[in-house]
Symmetry: C2
Subunit: 158 residues, 2 copies
């Protein structure tokens, strides 16, 4: 096993269970150990989409986001929110060799302003098109496979 041990995603009030399930599947593929989730409304991970991968990726439901973030900061985690904010930096500029929580926000409203304000960094994926925003599960894959590159390098299979 080659799991990512010090970088964890935090899914913050996603409204579409399909997105959440697709993310759990990607998380399994890219070797994420644990996902933190604050539900928008309670939902059940979609078995079909996650293809059973939620059995292999640990999921912790967070009831109090502010307490959670406070606790993670005390454990020296950096809090990084994905946001289309002007101040956000290219996701490839952040130094992933730090203990990090990466927050992915609601499909319509993004990460709440109060959470952005207590984040250490804001990151975004450059977009060149007419459509405002990538699907959150695609953004998740793009960012975590960049982390795969940074942390593990390019695979040379025999």
């Amino acid at each position: 096993m080659n799991k990512l041990n010090d970088i964890f995603p935090y899914l913050y009030k996603l409204e579409n269970p399909q997105n959440c399930s697709a993310i759990v599947r990607t998380a399994d593929a890219v070797g994420i150990k644990k996902i933190y989730i604050t539900e928008d409304k309670p939902f059940v991970i979609n078995e079909k989409i996650s293809k059973g991968s939620h059995q292999w990726v640990e999921i912790e439901i967070i009831r109090n986001p502010f307490e959670f973030i406070e606790n993670m900061k005390k454990k020296n985690f950096k809090i990084v929110s994905t946001s289309l904010d002007e101040k956000s930096i290219d996701y490839r500029l952040y130094d992933y060799n730090q203990k990090t929580i990466i927050i992915f926000g609601n499909e319509s409203n993004g990460v709440d302003k109060e959470i952005l304000e207590i984040s250490d960094y804001l990151i975004k994926i450059p977009q060149y098109g007419k459509v405002q925003s990538l699907n959150v599960s695609v953004a998740f894959g793009v960012i975590f496979y960049w982390i795969d590159y940074v942390k593990r390098g390019v695979k040379k299979w025999k």
Copy 2:
């Protein structure tokens, strides 16, 4: 506009219109000029998922895949198929500074064997989990944002 002018995706017999629509949306975001599609069965791009982005990304339906590939080879395009095949190389090892068609195959069966055989390269995304395969729209995002990195570098917004 900062479109990719010499790398084009070719969606080969995807069975889920949602995936196809999500890909069109990602294609718009990452600045793809044109998508080639061979339909599994005829479908209409899902308006809701693609969020109108198919109006900005050119789509060409390919009726004869072999003729299309032959023609693109004559125009000096390399044919690169995504495949979980043992012989596939890490997608980050391919040299994207070549005119290239990247083929994404059917969700269940991948790219047909006959197409793999006439491909110049096979690429894959490393996976560390128990689940066999990433969702094709996530894989599409991962590969094309790697191409964004190779071709355009890291964005330094002001």
